[in-house]
């Protein structure tokens, strides 16, 4: 019984630390904004940082907890961005409150991304390892291509869709307006996103992901990651739980996409390309697989870093890469690990189990 207490506090402690990290960071930033301690360029980055943090947490669910490498996570983000913005524009007259409109748009974005997750998950989750990675990469590109060729407009009669044509083919009434204009994307986005909205989305995401992991479903997901054959031998429907994790991950990415898009006045499908998927994967790998607070810190730090490196101008991305390599080396160096362990007086075993 005594041991149970220790274990519970360890799990709870990791979760509490993660929530605390986010809340403290929010409060500090709010105070700094109040005193004008943050440059305007950095202030403009707060919402994208929130979106990337949510993306990192949701991808960590797929890569760290489910154990499958996905290289097309930006695809779900773009599905969420485009459906969320479309929903927000369509709701302009119906729902006057900006906050409610943003929340509803995020929910619709999450639902649409979840549907995309199911459609992609059915073929993709039959594959393993490298094959799965390559196919998710392809799906990310397919989503980008579809959105690049899609035209959506709204008028008194409702929404109009068209593919591979032009915005004229929508046949809008005189009062209608084009929402998604093919490769030009969306150019009349209502800027509903705010830092507070992003903060709330991070908390909701953490709540969903951490509670999912520490429940029956989460154990089943991690069981199939650790040993698929053993998981089946104890009666776990592996396909169901893989799909569950993948779809939850896609839905959260969709909500993050909506948040991200509504911070800008225009958004194009090419923003959510392979590079973005890799960028998010870097957050996850750097933060540690299955380690949620690691993902949060990595996402925030690596989004700010290129901004801080502006003074290097042309060599910016070069320095960025070098910093990345150094951090990776440092976090894997036994001597440095040992040093930090001594510094915080932690025992080795505890450090090893912190992957929760």
């Amino acid at each position: 019984m005594k041991n149970k207490g220790i274990r519970l506090t360890r799990t709870t402690r990791t979760s509490a630390f993660t929530y605390g990290l986010v809340i403290v960071a929010y409060i500090i930033l709010r105070i700094l904004i109040g005193f004008g301690g943050i440059s305007s360029s950095l202030q403009g980055m707060l919402v994208p940082i929130c979106a990337y943090v949510v993306m990192a947490i949701s991808l960590n669910l797929t890569v760290g907890i489910l154990g499958e490498l996905s290289l097309g996570h930006a695809g779900f983000m773009s599905v969420g961005a485009f459906t969320g913005v479309t929903a927000a524009i369509a709701m302009t007259n119906g729902v006057p409150s900006a906050g409610l409109r943003l929340a509803l748009a995020m929910l619709i974005a999450a639902a649409c991304a979840a549907v995309a997750g199911v459609i992609i998950g059915i073929p993709v989750l039959r594959l393993k390892g490298d094959y799965l990675a390559i196919v998710t990469l392809a799906f990310g590109e397919i989503i980008k291509s579809i959105l690049n060729n899609m035209y959506v407009g709204v008028d008194g009669a409702g929404l109009h869709f068209s593919m591979l044509t032009s915005s004229d083919a929508l046949g809008l009434a005189a009062d209608g307006k084009v929402i998604i204009n093919g490769p030009m994307g969306i150019s009349t986005i209502p800027e509903l996103s705010s830092f507070t909205a992003g903060f709330i989305l991070i908390l909701v995401t953490l709540f969903i992901v951490l509670n999912l992991i520490h429940s029956r479903a989460g154990r089943a997901i991690m069981a199939q990651r650790d040993n698929r054959i053993a998981a089946e031998s104890v009666g776990i429907n592996v396909t169901k739980y893989k799909m569950m994790a993948f779809v939850v991950s896609a839905a959260l990415a969709g909500a993050a996409g909506a948040l991200f898009a509504m911070n800008f006045s225009t958004i194009v499908a090419n923003k959510f390309d392979f590079n973005t998927s890799i960028l998010i994967l870097v957050f996850v790998v750097l933060g540690g697989l299955g380690n949620m607070w690691g993902s949060i810190i990595a996402a925030a730090a690596l989004t700010i870093l290129p901004e801080l490196l502006r003074k290097f101008s042309d060599y910016r991305m070069l320095v960025y890469a070098i910093v990345l390599i150094l951090v990776m080396l440092a976090t894997n160096n036994p001597t440095i690990k040992q040093f930090f362990r001594k510094l915080f007086g932690k025992k080795k075993t505890e450090e090893d189990v912190s992957h929760e």
Binding site: N3, K4, I6, R7, R10, F207, I208, N211, L212, S215, R216, A217, G218, R219, A220, M222, A223, D226, N227, I229, A230, A231, E232, S233, V234, G235, I236, N237, V238, M244, D352, V353, H355
Partner: protein, 276 residues
């Protein structure tokens, strides 16, 4: 109710549980891998509370039989009846839900998870609640989690492993890992437990303890146990019926005494006697 079901001659011990449907019946079971016949004409009946042994030289097809019973492979020929129900077309998951639990020759634990979580994963189908209850921490989550914690601890106490509940499964010593696999299998509430070399890598005193525990499990849970083992002391010590496999075929069946005296078994293990 007590309509006597005649126990077939495939039974190792015909008199045991004669009035009940046997937990497991294999009727001319066979599997081919390409042109190779790995197991052929395998007939076996196991009573509800029997401890049966499956022995044979390396490569005889013992683990293949286990893989057939748990549907890791679908049999090419023959029928497996579980509790009198044909398992044809069932998946590994369905067969487990129907009452077959197993351990593995090369240990397959969820090694990054805690010991308790390993057992709780075994309880997955016994203690259900929905994903939403888990995410939103509904009352169902708390009540079922409490029950599954208690059940997991109860099961771990069979092997005195409660104190290890918070350790990482992968960091346990070898013997404890084997024991944990058995606990995890028991958590699925099986009717028959298949143990693939449970004593491998154990020292004599651990083996003796394991023998006691296997008997204890049978008496506590009223289940059948079938084990593959090379340790003859263990096999002869606890098995009530033994089936000997060689080149995928059954060469002998009987009580330990009968098996020890069987010339075909001696030949399979030691080779043919030289003609003098």
């Amino acid at each position: 109710m007590s309509n006597m079901i005649p126990v077939k001659s495939d039974a190792i011990i015909p008199e045991r549980d004669a009035d009940k449907t046997p937990i497991l019946e294999c009727i001319s079971l066979g599997i081919d891998f390409g042109g190779l016949t790995a197991v052929d004409n395998f007939n076996l009946t196991i009573g509800r509370t029997e401890i049966a042994g499956l022995i044979g030289p390396n490569g005889a097809g013992k683990t293949t039989v286990f893989n057939l019973l748990t549907k890791v492979y679908q049999p090419t020929r023959g029928t497996i009846l579980l509790n009198g129900i044909d398992t044809h077309g069932m998946s590994t998951v369905k067969v487990n839900q129907a009452g077959v639990a197993r351990t593995f020759q090369n240990i397959r634990l969820f090694s990054t998870l805690s010991v308790e979580d390993n057992v709780k994963i075994g309880l997955h189908n016994q203690m259900p609640y929905s994903m939403w209850s888990g995410i939103f921490r509904l009352p169902k989550y708390w009540s079922v989690e409490k029950k599954s914690h208690e059940r997991a601890m109860e099961l771990l106490s069979i092997f005195d492993m409660q104190d290890l509940a918070d350790s990482r499964a992968g960091s346990l010593p070898y013997g404890a890992q084997r024991r944990l696999e058995i606990v995890r299998a028991l958590a699925t509430n099986p009717g028959i437990l298949l143990l693939d070399e449970p004593a491998a890598g154990m020292n004599p005193s651990e083996t003796a303890e394991l023998m006691d525990n296997i008997r204890k499990i049978r008496d506590m849970f009223h289940i059948a146990v079938m084990l593959i083992e090379h340790d003859m002391n263990l096999v002869m010590g606890i098995c009530e019926g033994i089936c000997v496999l060689n080149y995928g075929k059954i060469i002998a069946k009987g009580t330990p005494e009968e098996i020890q005296a069987n010339p075909a078994v001696i030949e399979a293990y030691l080779g043919k006697k030289k003609e003098a």
